[in-house]
Amino acid sequence: MIRLTTETFDPGAELTRFCAGRTESGAVASFVGIARGEGGAATALELEAYPGFTEAEIGKMVEAATARFSLHDALVIHRHGAIAPGEPIVMVATAASHRREAFEACDCLMDYLKSRAPFWKKEHGPAGARWVEPTARDLDDIARWD
């Protein structure tokens, strides 16, 4: 399931729901990304999405990861709009028969979201605002899966 939301969410409750009733999965891995305050240098994040297109593009990637890692299920929750430090920005959870596939699919989906999913991220702080683009590290990370 893919969900874009402008509201904050409860990662623990989402994970509980995702795990419920899984008598055959055996493995669930999850990741939660949280907005950093950067010691006061970042007062808010603003994420822009392209409604319709963003969900469809993430959907294609989830479909590819499901086939590649033999997933039983995947959950992607992603915020857009204004996000305060300490709030969750993104959550990915993956279910598979065994842990290796679940871990790797979660890692792969997060690398994809960081540098190829249609979001544009602006960091606001006392020194002004700047658009954040993928770092060299983000690009190296996603290249591991190509």
């Binding site: 392209y50 960081k114 544009w120 658009w131 683009e133």
Partner: protein, 80 residues
């Protein structure tokens, strides 16, 4: 024709959505029209990592555009 700008392109242009009538017949004609109105934006649309989507599908190179098309210009993406 509906044209959408995302991320830094929207800040640079001072608009994020605009309608172009009469609609240019191709993507390159649309870019030329925009460059004529705003040279800095025209240059940014051809800058590194900027992609175009027509009716919510990424396109490469020049493509014909219907008058009802939705064209979006997408700078490098970053989520998470």
């Amino acid at each position: 024709m509906r044209v959408l700008l995302f991320g830094r392109l929207g800040d640079l242009a001072g608009w994020r959505e605009r309608s172009f009538e009469p609609a240019p017949a191709s993507l390159f004609a649309l870019k030329a029209l925009i460059a004529g109105l705003d040279a800095a934006l025209g240059e940014a649309l051809n800058g590194p990592g900027v992609q175009a989507a027509v009716n919510r599908a990424i396109v490469r190179g020049d493509v014909a555009l219907a008058a009802s098309a939705e064209v979006a210009f997408l700078p490098p993406m970053s989520g998470g």
